[in-house]
């Protein structure tokens, strides 16, 4: 009930605007008969960073891949800027958990690969890729190969590739899960900074409550078996504070605790 009420409330970031992504009555049954998602409704407002949060196996990746057009839904529909979609499209870009870089291609070619597939001429796509590589803090590594980079740097290349195609919606599946804690925090701050300058819509899958609260304008909590929307939380973190101050902020800590209390039931 809370979910229905909350879902209809427009996000403060985009009062009255069409949501960047909207899913209605989404269900997914895998071939083996596993019901991964059951009647999910969710709204992802334009320009906001929305997290999908929940324990492993609750269908976060499934939901994200359906939004990306990589998986067909069994029931329900996905709308991007008000238009129903049933496949991948240039207005959405995906950042993969395992980075999905071409091991035989340099950082530059990897970052430009989305544009290469779209047939953008070499000079033009490499200029765009160089800009995005600099934006994610990797300037100077253009000629290197993925296996010469750390996990965090590889994920930045994946992010640069997604930025280079200039999609409106960035879909990220646990983008920080394969990197160490320090890199992860640095990356989170960079993501917040990017969100400030890029005016894009971010949908980020995570299983970390702290990360979700720290990053998000809006958190969609999924409950497992089968995946359903359990609750929606808008953390309203004061972004003028420094990262350290945010992590000590009572409101931040309360929100984390509140979500943990809610999720605990599913885990037990």
């Amino acid at each position: 009930m809370i979910q229905a009420m909350e879902a209809e409330r427009p996000a403060p970031a985009a009062e009255g605007a069409v949501p960047a992504v909207e899913v209605r009555g989404l269900s997914k049954t895998y071939n083996g008969g596993v019901l991964a998602l059951d009647d999910v409704d969710a709204v992802f407002p334009q320009g906001a960073l929305t997290s999908l949060l929940g324990p492993s196996g609750c269908g976060k990746t499934t939901l994200l891949k359906i939004v990306a057009g990589l998986l067909p839904a069994s029931e329900g529909e996905v709308r991007v800027m008000g238009r129903a979609v049933d496949g991948p499209g240039p207005e959405r870009a995906f950042v993969f958990q395992d980075f999905a870089l071409l091991p035989w291609a340099t950082v530059l070619r990897n970052a430009a690969f989305g544009l290469e597939l779209r047939g953008v001429p070499e000079a033009e796509r490499e200029a765009a890729a160089r800009r995005c590589i600099a934006e994610v803090g990797l300037a100077g590594t253009e000629g290197r190969y993925p296996h010469e980079l750390s996990g965090g740097m590889r994920q930045r290349v994946g992010l640069a590739r997604a930025l280079a195609v200039d999609a409106d919606v960035l879909l990220m599946d646990e983008p920080f899960s394969a990197v160490d804690e320090q890199t992860r925090r640095k990356f989170q701050e960079d993501l917040l900074r990017l969100r400030g300058v890029e005016r894009k819509t971010f949908i980020v899958v995570t299983h970390s409550i702290e990360e979700a609260v720290y990053l998000s304008d809006r958190i969609i909590l999924l409950s497992p078996g089968p995946g359903r929307v359990a609750r929606i939380v808008e953390p309203e973190i004061d972004r003028t504070l420094s990262p350290e101050a945010i992590r000590r902020d009572p409101h931040y800590l309360e929100t984390v605790e509140d979500i943990w209390q809610g999720l605990r039931d599913f885990v037990e």
Partner: protein, 250 residues
């Protein structure tokens, strides 16, 4: 290798065997085994002859053509079997069967089909080399990371781009491993094919040498063929190493 505390160069074990061969040859220990030095002399004698050169060209030509066909058929077939379950079910059994079957037994059938000439030799090379290329290509295509395929799809890759820019480059190390093994098998094929056809190329020379008990020449030719096989396998191996460099991170 060390002997009595002295480091010996890499090839010394080979030298030891050559000496043993020489001694055995001189003592006339084994029937039909001439001294190694005599074989070397024979080698310098047969290499410049017109018959040998003609046989060499024929062998190289048949080998190159058979290998080219094996790659042109094996790689697409392997890609098909790697991408389509149905194709794998339909063809997998046969490919595996031919991979381990004693293919020399089929050469007489090829002779009936293609006659006693170069076509049969080309077909033998093809038959020996194609299956391992197919299977390794299939394994390579199967092992392409699913997220790479999804990545290509999210960025709107069409069918052609998907194969050309993602699947084939990702499977290239396995494809080349298959080609290297195919080369080794193809060399066997080109030799066995000629021996069985035995009226052209090295086969005819072997036939001539062994029938006239020209054992020096016989062994010289054998050694040359072994060296040919080793050099070819080494060349493809080098190419493979280069490709492994970029695939190192998988």
């Amino acid at each position: 290798m060390r002997l009595f505390g002295v480091r010996l160069p890499m090839m010394s074990s080979l030298i030891l065997w050559c000496v043993l061969w020489e001694v055995a040859g001189r003592l006339d220990l084994v029937f039909l085994l001439p001294p190694f030095s005599a074989v070397l002399v024979a080698m310098t004698e047969i290499v410049p002859t017109a018959g040998f050169l003609r046989a060499t060209w024929l062998t190289l030509g048949c080998f190159a053509l058979g290998m080219a066909l094996a790659v042109l058929v094996g790689v697409p077939l392997g890609v098909l079997m790697g991408r389509s379950r149905a194709a794998d079910r339909l063809l997998g059994l046969w490919v595996n069967l031919f991979l381990s079957a004693p293919l020399s037994a089929l050469v007489p059938i090829l002779m009936i089909l293609f006659g006693l000439g170069t076509t049969t030799i080309v077909a033998t090379v093809f038959l020996f080399a194609v299956w391992i290329i197919t299977l390794d290509t299939q394994a390579g295509v199967r092992s392409v990371a699913p997220s790479l395929l999804e990545m290509a799809r999210t960025y709107g890759a069409g069918r052609v781009a998907l194969y050309r820019r993602v699947i084939l480059p990702a499977a290239l190390p396995e494809i080349l491993a298959g080609v290297r093994l195919g080369v080794i098998r193809g060399v066997k094929g080109v030799v066995i094919g000629q021996l069985l056809v035995s009226i052209v190329g090295y086969g005819a020379l072997f036939e001539l040498y062994s029938r006239s008990f020209l054992m020096e020449e016989f062994w010289a030719l054998t050694i040359l063929l072994f060296a040919f096989a080793l050099v070819l396998a080494d060349l493809v191996g080098r190419l493979e190493k280069r490709v492994e460099f970029y695939a190192g991170a998988r």
